[in-house]
């Protein structure tokens, strides 16, 4: 049975605009992507196994084809990419001088291991030796692929994200550098969370970092990843890829906190594959970037597999964040539960297009998706479009979305108790996200999000309240 909760908002169609962008691109192909010269120059700076280079060449060929085609309309028609100019960005062959970029999740908790990337190159890996004692592989992707080709090649850009999904995945497959690999062998548990920090420090850098996580049968792990820019003004491009593979009976918790500066273009393909009885808990946080588009696939490939997906998005200024999420139920008894919450300030914009797909064999499926947006200004704009594509007949799928503004009665109620208007806004926004926080069982993530949201709301000192005095729960 399908239930429509609330359908909202018409969408503006920028297909026409993107059409114009295509004709512009035909005149200046360098504006939308990289040509063969950039690719050859990139390759000349690489030192890597031949099979990796060969795969890049294949991917680049696909990329060139895809670049000549329009982007899939349903996914991109609401996103205006005309201002994008690829000519301003190039990959770099080294990490540059090491810069301390302050991480949000970084300093706050004890991690079992940590990897840091700067401008597309790994600059720090810690904890991998202890992890290796349990057979866990944790480290820089290229080195790991070369050392463990037999184990890892079947996964890398094969099980979760395919290079030929669209121009961004192909672009990534041709140009990826650096990256994080986590492989957890059968029945092994990674007790402490692992941390991955991806930073951008120089103007004009194109960063193609990759995250590949494989949690083998019965294993468990948690990885917290965040992206950050060293300063507010360096323009950046990030074409990323996240692959999460959860084998049967395995469990993975993965958090990605995207906090690029507002001069950064962020495109990513992110996909999770969950096998029999596996569970994936996936939290996507979008705070930064100028424009971002995330294609998120949740593939419930095994019987009774399940996924919980949380989204926390807070935009301000003229940011535009776009999500295309797909919960794909492929087998019987699978469960997915997606909850996105978005808060929009100023003239920012959020697009969420969500799909639940249920294949014929996926009977007794339970699919849920919901996106709620809270608008803090008249100029902010949110398009949320849930959708269903169901081929099985014995399923329960519910979806819906709401968009609303801060309720003046709530403000008045708070104020009538001595709380200022600002404080009331803070409380209400915080409360709006709380339902998602409640689903995230990792205290450091909850606390970090709460503080970060408070800061972005404007009054920095208020964030101190969260940590104030005796810092205790009631």
């Amino acid at each position: 049975m399908c239930v429509w909760l609330i359908a909202v908002e018409e969408c503006i169609d920028v297909e026409e605009m993107n059409g114009k962008a295509m004709s512009l691109a035909a005149k200046h192909p360098g504006r939308i992507g990289f040509d063969i010269e950039v690719f050859e120059q990139f390759l000349s700076g690489r030192r890597e196994a031949d099979w990796i280079t060969a795969a890049r060449r294949d991917a680049f060929e696909k990329y060139t084809q895809l670049l000549a085609q329009e982007l899939p309309a349903e996914e991109f028609k609401r996103l205006d990419l005309r201002p994008f100019n690829a000519e301003l960005f190039r990959p770099v062959s080294d990490s540059g001088e090491l810069e301390a970029v302050s991480a949000l999740l970084g300093e706050t908790s004890d991690y079992g291991g940590r990897i840091v990337h700067q401008d597309g190159h790994a600059v720090e890996v810690s904890g991998s030796d202890q992890l290796a004692e349990k057979g866990i592989l944790f480290g820089e992707l290229q080195a790991m692929l070369e050392q463990h080709r037999e184990l890892l090649e079947p996964f890398f850009m094969r099980r979760a994200v395919s290079p030929d999904a669209d121009r961004f995945s192909a672009w990534h497959a041709a140009f990826w550098t650096g990256g994080t690999l986590l492989y957890v062998p059968r029945n092994v548990e990674v007790e402490l969370p692992l941390h991955s920090l991806i930073t951008s420090t120089r103007n004009g850098v194109a960063d193609f970092s990759h995250t590949l996580i494989i949690v083998d049968e019965g294993a468990r792990a948690t990885l917290l990843e965040e992206t950050a820019s060293a300063d507010a003004d360096s323009a950046g491009l990030h074409v990323g890829c996240v692959e999460l593979i959860v084998e049967r009976d395995a469990q993975l918790r993965y958090v990605q906190l995207q906090n690029w500066n507002q001069k950064t273009w962020h495109f990513a393909h992110q996909a999770g594959v969950v096998e029999n009885n596996g569970t994936l808990q996936w939290t996507v946080v979008g705070l930064g970037s100028r424009v971002s588009h995330i294609h998120q696939d949740i593939n419930l490939a095994g019987r009774a597999s399940s996924a919980e997906v949380n989204g926390v998005t807070f935009t301000s200024d003229r940011q535009k964040l776009s999500y295309y999420t797909q919960q794909h139920h492929q087998q019987q008894g699978t469960r997915s539960d997606l909850l996105y919450r978005e808060v929009l300030r100023d003239e920012s914009r959020v697009i969420w297009r969500g799909m639940i797909k249920v294949d014929i064999p996926a009977q007794q499926t339970d699919g849920y998706q919901r996106s709620d947006a809270l608008m803090l200004s008249e100029e902010a704009r949110c398009d949320s479009i849930p959708g269903l594509e169901i081929e099985a007949d014995d399923v329960r799928c519910t979806h819906g979305s709401t968009t609303g503004r801060v309720d003046q009665d709530q403000i008045l109620y708070c104020m009538s108790r001595g709380i200022t208007r600002n404080e009331a806004m803070h409380m209400i926004v915080e409360g709006f996200f709380q339902e998602v926080y409640d689903r995230i069982p990792i205290p450091v993530v909850r606390d970090t999000l709460s503080q970060t949201v408070q800061k972005k709301l404007g009054i920095e000192t208020l964030a101190a309240d969260v940590m104030s005095a005796d810092d205790e729960e009631f």
Binding site: D409, L412, C414, M415, R417, I419, G431, F474
Partner: protein, 269 residues
């Protein structure tokens, strides 16, 4: 010196529609006033106007506390001056825990000069205080961790209003039908609670359609509102009489206000 809340010639409109047409009431600390009147006569409008609700525009007249004109004050400033409204329809604040909300609120009201972002009152003492107030009102301590009014039953919401009143200890409390929607045990708890909380430091304006709350909190003054005006003021006996006999005789005594009442209904309809 006891404080006084003085409402003079108060005219209030919602949008373009005038609702209150010259209300005069003076409440001193320590006094209990009852405000009665048929549905739609403007009681809640008065309550909201006193709280500073932005949709209720004062077009004439003043609200003063100890001679200080607060007609233009923001709602939070009024709260810091000791005003409190127990809402007829308490608002749900999703995701905000009762304890966090009240800790903020209590901090601001007790330290009226506190600026945004400055420290909150200590959790330990706050927790102790909140728990004992909850016990007195027969509330499960678990409520402190719940989201404010979220999923609360009608009666639970009303009790939450009284809990807030107990924590904030205002100088002037306006209770808008805090007794409706409560079962008889709860009415008793709330009535006794209010009786305990009020006393010489608090002036109370009780808006009610029932008698129980007034039994425990005998009003020195009963005001009757009709068509946006106070048409009669008496003592506890008047409240009793209205409960027993309804508003027909009041309407007969004040045909002009009764006529206003009729037109107001048409405008709304």
């Amino acid at each position: 010196m006891s404080s006084v809340l003085k409402i003079s010639d108060l005219h209030v409109s919602v949008g373009e529609t005038p609702i209150l047409k010259g209300v005069n009431i003076e409440i001193r600390q320590g006094e209990v006033h009852a405000l009665m009147g048929p549905n739609g006569s403007g009681k809640s409008t008065l309550a909201y106007a006193l709280a500073g609700h932005p949709n209720y525009t004062v077009t004439r007249g003043t609200i003063e506390v100890d001679g200080k004109d607060i007609t233009e004050h923001a709602p939070d400033e009024r709260a810091r001056l000791g005003m409190f409204l127990a809402f007829q329809y308490p608002v749900v604040i999703p995701g905000v825990k009762v304890a966090d909300f009240l800790r903020h609120s209590v901090t601001n009201v007790r330290n009226p000069d506190r600026r945004e972002g400055e420290g909150l009152i200590g959790m330990r003492e706050f927790r102790k205080e909140l728990r004992s107030r909850m016990t007195e009102l027969g509330m499960d301590h678990e409520f402190a961790r719940r989201y404010l009014n979220d999923g609360f039953s009608g009666g639970e919401k009303k009790r939450m209003e009284i809990l807030q009143l107990a924590m904030l200890q205002p100088r002037f409390a306006i209770l808008d039908e805090t007794d409706s929607g409560l079962d008889s045990d709860a009415v008793r708890v709330v009535s006794e609670g209010l009786a305990r909380l009020s006393g010489p430091e608090m002036g109370v304006l009780i808006i009610t359609h029932h008698e129980r709350l007034l039994e425990f909190n005998a009003p020195q003054f009963t005001h009757v509102m009709l068509g946006g005006r106070i048409v009669e003021t008496g003592d506890a006996a008047l409240a009793h009489d209205l409960h027993a006999n309804g508003y027909a005789t009041v309407r007969a005594r004040h045909p002009e206000a009764a006529a206003d009442e009729a037109t107001a209904k048409e405008v709304v309809a």
